[in-house]
Symmetry: C2
Subunit: 593 residues, 2 copies
């Protein structure tokens, strides 16, 4: 099955777009007219460039408001069409998209529409071109796919077929099953886009908020299934208008796009990458730091013990219960602040996990090998975090045990990792973690920070032993853009917090007003409230259970959270996030950090 | 008439918000509960802070889903309310907002709602507090202001009144005239917000896209007129949820907010700043530059002559027709690139214009005086551009004529100035230019740049002799953020372009594909097309006339446009902007500029 992408889905100049599409493995492109008009390349040069890049030009869309118009207007349209067909011949494109008219001149007359489209198809045929007629969701008279097909059928012209677009069909809630009534050879083209389920004007929705299949709320795969059952054998082509993608670099967006089609094809049984080997736990989190002192002090106060040292690299293993933190000061670490650089995921089948990641276009990292290293399969997530797939703990053989035993433990394991994403890659990151790792995603939630809204989305495996929370700030320059945190699970957050403080750790102070409100909202014993107040423990409750949590100070980009998750509580304390964020801002304002 | 603002309308910490509100001249604030919860200040400290800042706490809104619920639920609500009333006593706030319930537990029973609200008002009265009940547009059973008023009336309690909110009323298209049937003393509060006219889910619309009165599409002033006719004498209070304002600095947003209320009060006859002295032309545009050479070369090639030099400062006057450009290399110029720093507006009454600007909170600049200087009244626009109000040309007395006569002229005058705005201040800038200068605004348009969408909005006086186009990039970091341009009006763009080229000027090259498309869309003579192609002249047509324009290379942040506006064409060539932007990007990629 061939894959294609419309140039409007990517940011940059036409040549940047074409290069990105080719490198991501697309077979073809739809050239959006504005991209051609703005390009200094001639049509012949564009044709050659595409050929060099292994891209077919599957579609060109220069025609608007063609049909069901008065004769003199139609004559002008035909004149314009001839010019465009000449251009397409130079370009080597053989299919032209014609969207249903939105012109105020258009009349509600299917017979006239059919006759004029047939006349256009006559002209197209002279140039070896096929006309694909598509119902825009906001077309003046024709706005459903079945109506467009009736017009095409009435025209009965061999060079006239229909184009289906998942957005235009699913945004109107039209039942896609009727697609199977269209003969496959009359479906000349298939455009795919997903979108978040917003209740808004369909034109605005379409022009600004489309996304790649699997990133929104539509059943795009279901629709494609109907199309394939007609015998359609043209490309699956992405046409996505998205304000954020327009600003992003073309190369990663193209990879994200192609991954979305691979996942779609897998869902349809049309592609078979290795099945997901869903991770079964977090083996370790690796911090890189230019200065271990503050990180070591923080880990020690949290009750971690330095239990082992890497045999060949400046990496220490800190452990408490099943929570393991690597602290890396090697020269290969990225410049700058202390940050989370890698996550080790316990995998039932590391090789299969890495194979699936590679099949889904995740950048595979060179295996870390040294005379002492166990080979570890690793890929890079969209934010650059390295994900290691770890088998039965063999990776620990690389570490030489130190005298220290693991500390007596308040912390059981890593509850979740919260990672701020680059602004342009939030949707990509969610799709990546779902498709590559096989995690399930919750809905996005908005969280108020004093300096703008954040969006946050949690992903986890079935038993909650792997939980990753993706966060994105309100704009690329947002001040708190880089924060990351590691949440540590404990059975008794009060004890853990007290021990941390006794060991010299500093907990994030929480305003007294928060506790007055807690008292008003929940019937908590005075004693309990007093403890929370004293330590800065936050409280949340959902339909399942109760969540108590508190935060450490921040080192570089990293802070820790101690969490007690009782009775099957499913969330992450999101209602408390505004208070936490404000407290962190306040602290930074004081410390100048 | 007192003015107030909800803390949620501003970005930052609670103390930053309070300080900004006070400095902008507000009389009071509504304290949004989350801002209080996240503040390290106690309620008593907040009370003192507000008093020190001259702010009354006009409203507190901690109550949700109070009324028309089962008795045990209501008992819990009353318990919570008591805690909140205790808090309000500490805060010194005497009015509490209660929004109509959205709870799934709420039943459709006005009598029950009235009885429970009366019971709540009983409790409030014990604390000296008044309850203001408001219909949320998405309330479960009560979602119109008249319905909320019927419930209040039925309750018949002296401590229970209604709160009106312009967003909730106007977003549902409810007729606001019925407001006059409510006795003024039972309207306990009035919240104001405007919003762009979007067809979207009202809750999303409300939470993300509200703006200050005069920045959206609602007739907020009309609504306030109805409210005032009831005898309402409480504050006009702004409650605006806006994703962009949340990220902006609180201080300028607060000034913008207060200006919007001043303009609203003026429209209602409740305030009388000096009437607008609408500018009647552009006297000059002033560029600052660290290096005059490239600017001088560009101006000379455009046909400008250096006709005068300032008697006391390193400022040259370049002139052609009625177009005057000042080139300033003084030490007081801002650092960095060549840019437009000031605009001289011909004013029928400079003193009145400056007085109005000051009354509408524009920063008034110190008059530039030196032994030689004519006093000029000037204010700063939101983007920092200095606007000078110039009388009958007296300012030119500061300049000593040079030998050069004004050049024989292709350029008549300055057609328009296009200024990129700081990302957070686009709405503020439009309101500023409308209200302070008295210009009329066109609708915003979206323009596709290769690296993201731009928004653009034009303002002008009645005869088009002053035209300012405000533009904003897709995100704060956007690469082309800083571009500015000066469009020069000519009667013959072809001649002007040729002369420019002959004088060594470089015109922005326009792709050949653009002209192929132009030929397809318009029936232009071959000869004319050939000329456009050769020179890089772009073409547009609207319902009134024809526009032909071309662009120079860029120096610093500045480039020039030559425009020929025929037969009353009203636009600015927006359909050609994507081609121009792509060509500018391509040139930068080549020159590395």
């Amino acid at each position: 099955m061939r894959t294609s992408i419309a140039t409007v889905s990517l940011g940059g100049s036409l040549t940047e777009k074409l290069t990105a599409a080719s490198r991501a493995g697309f077979d073809g492109v739809e050239i959006f007219e504005n991209d051609l008009l703005a390009s200094p390349l001639t049509p012949e040069e564009i044709r050659t460039r595409c050929a060099d890049l292994g891209l077919r030009i599957d579609l060109y869309q220069p025609m608007r408001d063609i049909e069901a118009v008065p004769q003199d207007e139609f004559a002008r349209n035909l004149r314009r069409a001839r010019r465009k067909f000449e251009l397409m011949r130079r370009l080597g494109a053989d299919t032209v998209l014609v969207c249903s008219s939105v012109s105020p001149l258009a009349v509600d007359d299917d017979a006239l529409a059919a006759a004029q489209l047939a006349r256009l198809a006559d002209l197209a045929q002279d140039f070896g071109i096929r006309v694909a007629y598509e119902a825009l969701a906001w077309g003046r008279h024709v706005h459903t796919y079945d109506h467009a097909w009736r017009v095409v059928e009435a025209a009965g012209h061999p060079a006239l077929g229909t184009c289906l677009d998942s957005f235009h069909i699913l945004s109107r809630g039209t039942d896609p099953r009727g697609i199977e009534d269209i003969p496959g050879e009359k479906i000349f083209f298939l455009q795919l886009a997903d979108a978040p389920l917003l209740a808004m004007d369909v034109l605005q929705w379409s022009r600004h908020y489309r996304c790649f299949p699997g990133q929104g709320g539509f059943d795009v795969a279901g629709l494609v299934g109907h199309v394939l059952r007609t015998g359609y054998d043209g490309p699956l082509s992405l046409e996505v208008f998205n304000d954020v993608f327009r600003q992003a670099e073309a190369a990663p967006t193209a990879v994200d796009a192609r991954r979305s089609l691979l996942v779609l094809q897998e869902a349809l049984g049309a592609a078979a990458p290795p099945a997901p080997a869903v991770p079964t736990g977090v083996a370790f989190a690796e911090l890189v730091t230019p200065d271990t002192e503050p990180v070591d002090a923080l880990l020690a106060a949290l009750g971690f013990a330095r239990t082992a040292r890497h045999r060949g690299k400046p990496v220490d293993l800190w452990q408490q219960g099943e929570a393991r933190i690597l602290v890396n000061t090697g020269p290969a670490v990225r410049r700058g602040d202390t940050q989370l650089a890698a996550v080790g995921l316990r995998s039932p089948d590391p090789v299969a996990a890495a194979d699936r990641a590679e099949a889904l276009l995740a950048p595979v990292l060179p295996r870390r090998r040294s005379p002492h290293d166990a080979p570890l399969d690793a890929v890079a997530a969209p934010d650059g975090t390295e994900l290691f797939f770890c088998g039965s703990g063999r990776w620990r053989a690389d570490f030489a045990p130190l005298a220290h035993a693991p500390a007596a433990t308040d912390v059981r394991h890593i509850d979740h990792l919260a990672l701020t994403q680059p602004w342009h890659q939030f949707d990509e990151a969610a799709l990546f973690h779902r498709s590559v790792l096989g995690l399930d995603a919750q809905e996005s939630v908005d969280v108020a920070d004093p300096y703008g809204l954040l969006r946050s989305r949690a992903l986890s495996n079935a038993d909650g032993s792997v939980r990753i929370v993706l966060t994105v700030g309100p704009a690329p320059t947002h001040g708190t853009g880089g924060a990351q945190h590691i949440a540590l699970a404990t059975d008794d957050v009060t004890a853990a917090a007290r021990r941390f403080r006794a060991a010299g750790g500093r907990l994030l102070p929480v305003p007294a007003n928060y506790y007055d409100d807690l008292a008003a909202r929940h019937d908590l014993p005075e004693e309990e409230l007093r403890t929370y107040r004293e330590l800065g423990i936050l409280y949340d409750r959902d339909a399942y259970g109760v969540f108590r949590h508190c935060y450490t100070q921040t080192v570089g980009r990293i802070f820790f959270e101690l969490v007690q998750r009782d009775d099957g509580y499913r969330g992450y304390g999101a209602p408390n996030a505004p208070v936490r964020l404000a407290a962190q801002h306040a602290l930074r304002a004081v410390t100048g950090g």
